[in-house]
Amino acid sequence: MDKQKFIESGLIEQYVLGIVSPEERRDIERLLTRHPDLRQMVEELSQGLESYAKAHTTLPPSHLRQKVLEAMKAVDVPRSAPTSPPPPPAPVVQRSFWSRWGTAIAAVMVLGLSMVCMLMYSKQSEAQQQIAVLSSQVEALQRDYQTLQRVDKRLQTQFAILKDVSTRHVQLQGSDLAPSAKAVVYWNENHQDAYLNVVDMPEAPHGHQYQVWADVNGKHLDMGLLEAQADPETGVALFKLPYIEHSRGFVITLEKSGGSPHPTVEKLFVKGNL
């Protein structure tokens, strides 16, 4: 149907009043979807008609209200499932002081507590690191102390031998190879102890070592090799020597590294007799 003809036909008013046939209704509604201005016209006509109906407004007797509401409630509403009440319109909801400020306060408290926790955690790990450092220091000190105890014991022993009146001091004099070389052997028969004090000896050439010998009835018995240092822990140059009975004298020769079964007489550096 043509739009202008439709407007002039009065069908639109009949449509608003609800007095059109189902066919006419279908045609009109199809037309309305295509023409927003017609839809607007229908809207305004309906509003006018509604205003007319509302103009007849009459207050019903007040006792009727309760009666009608009870009759409505008595209607058995068939429900397949309990319908949940729809959410009330959001803007109408007035939030209370506590719901508004409580959230903020709670948030601040959570933030504060988590900061305290983090602070305590970092403090704790710091303390753990300090404990680790201190305990390693304590361990080092314990090791040092034990070393010192050992050293002290050795020095006490050596000192005891040295000051013992029964200890004999055997001077070893340098040979032609090293006239200025000098060493002392401390010999104690009572305690069967022997020490060597290298006072002055030329440094052993590379691949060579000094070896100490005891003279027992004209035979030279091995008393051990001289290491670079007598005692690495104390740094004191007293070498412990094995006590060999019936020793008459002592010689030190230069031998190849690792020592020799017999002394190389040509390389005799110092010599002394009891």
Partner: protein, 192 residues
Amino acid sequence: MYSKNYIILLLQRQDQRVMQSLYDNYAPALYGVILRIVRSEALAEDVLQDTFVKIWKYGPAYDPSKGSLFTWMLNIARNTAIDAIRSAHHRHQHDCRPVEQAPETSVQPNINHIGLDNIVENLEDKYRRVIDLIYFQGYTQKEVGEELNIPLGTVKSRVRIALRELRKFFTSKLVSLLLYAPLLLKLLVSLG
């Protein structure tokens, strides 16, 4: 106090919280129309109750795209009122149309008693009769012609003019509202 859309939503879900709002908002307008149709306060009370029961029962079936909530409820009220008159007359072995027997003048005192808005007064009587018969009493245009003894063409043209007059009145109300809007705004601003 719920918004119109929220009232519709609650009605469609048959949520009992909306019952009072529904009654308070629409009962006076519906009662006025019902009274206009049945012309008996005792019968109008029963019809109003039946109307609200039906509104409640059929609430989930209401489709806003098909028309306004008020028009939908008005149709229920109208049909209920017409049915009530018919069954009352059946009981009295009378014809099914009470208004046909009742002289037209008997309507007027009722209207005055109700106290109508000037929207009705502004509408000429010949148009008002046509609209009342169709809109409130469910007559067809042909039946109106027979009732008022006028040709069908005249009925159709009166329907057209009547609705356009009502529309004019409605839009003029809107225009005056728009004219007053700046003044109201100014007032609100000065109050704020």
